[in-house]
Amino acid sequence: MSFIAWVITLAIVTFAGGWVFRKAGQLATSNAPYFRDMPYGVGVGYVAGGLAILWVVATYVASMAAEGPDANKYFFFRLAIHFLVLSAIAAWVFRVFGRAVGTEATKKLFRQMPLTASFGILTILIYAFVAVFAGALAPYGQEEILGAANIVAGGDPATGGNPDFPLGTDQIGRDILSRLIFGAQNTVGIAFATTCLAFFIGASLGFLAATLGGWLDQLLSRTVDALMAIPALIFSLLLMTIAAVWANKFGIPLTIFMVVIIAVIDATRVFRLARAVGTSIVVMDYIEAAKLRGEGLSYLIFREILPNATAPLLAEFGLRFCFVFLTIASLSFLGVGIQPPLADWGTMVRDLAQFINFAQFAPQVALTPLLAAGAIALLTVAVNFVVDWMLHKSSGLKE
């Protein structure tokens, strides 16, 4: 059957199925309110979702039987399914654990938590743990060049692996697992420091502009506008190039320059948010009361405004952390970020990028550069899950 015929059949099945599903539900539950008041679109959604799950299950069953070159087609699919199932189980176990252990407040938190958020928290905890104890966890040093090069991940000698290097080695023989672990320390650690700096600069200036207003507000806001008008990545590339010269001249590590440059560029976004949140807080009566009491500026900003702005700022912190982290990875990928021989996920992707071309006939080989990319993606997704949940909680939405 041609592709178009497939699409048409599928559409007909889905749209008719939606109606049938709703009708069947109404008959089976003798007109329960849920099925009775179900809009047609929701019925279609159930059927479309069901079909998608069917396709996944069918493909997975087919992949179990496949062998040889045929199995290569399913390699990443199987990996994704296994990972999804495992992480769902891990998240569930973690949530059950959280509900049973801890103070009454944390137990309550875990009881109301969706699975995505518990997965996010678990992932962030693991990353933090790995980053802090990288030296103790990594089997080899990050700069250590071991004899064997280009060893495939999986540790199975039949496919070109080596049990000593479970995730393989790169083209000059450094252990990927160790470099991933040290990469957590370098990339995540630097990203965290940069985000903190960006928030310190952006939030304090934003609140200052909101509280004082007038020409200071104009000056700061227009400067920020000007900075935001330049595309961030290009701007940071430009500044990094200049900084590279200074780094040699003054003997200051380039990494310090990178932290400051990214922090300043990202602080503009934080400034915008802090100013917007701040202006809606400074009009409150309690700020007026504090002003009339004769309180100084720092008390107003840090004791009256800041505690009320923590929820939106914290949510922004999560997102901003992801962006900073991706910027660092991008800069490293482009070769101006974290400098070798320090392990960094962006650099690892770039160094091994050509192996991605092997994906079709030797997926195990293509996996090597994707491990670092996956580490980046996983952390970004995890942080976003947690931020979403926090925003949902602070907005007071109820199901």
Binding site: D285, Y286, E288, K291, L292, R293, E304, P307, N308
Partner: protein
Amino acid sequence: MNTKSNEQLVKIRGLKIEGRSDETWNPIINGVDLDLNKGEVLGLIGESGAGKSTIGLASMGFCRDGVRISEGTVEFDGIDLIKASAAVKRSLLGKRIAYVAQSAAASFNPAHKLIDQHTEAPTQHGVSGRKESEEDGIELYRRLRLPNPDEIGFRYPHQVSGGQLQRAMTAMAMACRPDLIIFDEPTTALDVTTQIEVLAAIRDIVEQFDTAAIYITHDLAVVAQMADKIKVLLKGDEVEESDTRTMLANPQEDYTKSLWAVRSFERPKKPAVSTGATPVVSVQGVTAAYGTVDVLHDVNFDMHEGRTVAVVGESGSGKSTTARCITGLLPPRIGHIEFDGAQMPLDYRKRDKTQLRQAQMIYQMADTALNPRKTIGELIGRPVEFYMGLKGAEKRKRVEFLLDEIELEPSKFIDRLPSELSGGQKQRIGIARALAAEPKFIICDEVTSALDQLVAEGILKLLAKLQDELKLTYMFITHDLATVRAIADEVVVMKDGKVVEQGEKEDMFKPPHHPYTDLLLSSVPEMDPDWLSNLLEERGVDNIGDAAVDKM
């Protein structure tokens, strides 16, 4: 009143409603029965949290997010609304049942013109075409006595005043000629002079179309004008129900009697101020402007030790602006403020700590006046530390003393956050914070207008007690003349940024008045169910409310 058919329209039996919080379902309504015949108006009264609005919504078969109807039946004209399908409810709501919300300003969609929102329900329900319903809307605007009925519908909500919006919303509810309208506190947010117009309009139109209505309010005097019968609620339980006249003349339950008694609180008269005494605060020829527009014009008045000066007027009359001039938030353009005979710097930034300490403020909305992230101990402790320099145990002792003063138990409240307190308790914290500075003079900006009557009475009594103990001077900004009667010694009436009349309270409540004072006084609803009819008869429908103000 008009003749009632005995056909039953709404029948609620054993209604129980629960709300979800802290992972459990808590009861909100514990089994209420309600009957409403066609063309009848039922008044639902009770303090906040009594479940008035919840019952109002439930009689439409609706409940808010996180709330569920757990038991009971709601029948509208023989249709069970709880079991009815969404399609059936859709065909009823907006067409046969309409709802008028408390804040019309927040309920209209600011992006569409009034008439477009008006015609939406009739065209959606297929009652009439767009053109007809537009004409009908203009006719309804005319009947509701909106100014420029032909043109007002083509404005956006922000171009129309609050009282007019509330009437436009009533017109919108009428668009499909429903059998039942639920009015949820439709006049609570309005000035007295505006309120009276809206009340007259609502009553008129409900009678003209013989519509049944559920009128929700916490103001007894208002409900006395509107309702045929009254149901009193307390914490989700019905206290009693009877027809309006019986209820007013002869309430059965203690709770109802206490509601009725609130309005009788009045302080004894104080001796007159000795001539030549220096006033604590003196406003001297103040003219102030926002930008280039003058909003206060040559305002003069004195406030003496131990006395309460009530500043009265409707919104926009310059009451709060005068307070801002006194505190220095808005430096006057001409004139100055004297404290104890000494001139104060105009701008609060130029005043020193002792000067700032002298004048404290209590705000209308305790929710926004208390930092939600600070505990009660921190909120009251800060001025103690800031002005008196007390720290540690001494500070705590002082805070505990202040909490005792405002009749809240220190050990129970000191570590709580404002969100864990009720409205009245929050307002008490606001008072304690002002007291912590040990001032001579306190500005009370509409401190009771957001509170229920019983709670407001408690606050007024507390303020009176503190005044007697500490010789405080109050500037009491309000638009509620019942409050003035209860607490004031002197009254200043303001209109359009000018003082139109001032003097002792007794003189103010006795004629002759300035015509504006007269209008204000006559617009305050009384508990007599015939009050509105008599007033309309006496003054004529064109001589009440904003229409009368415009003529001055």
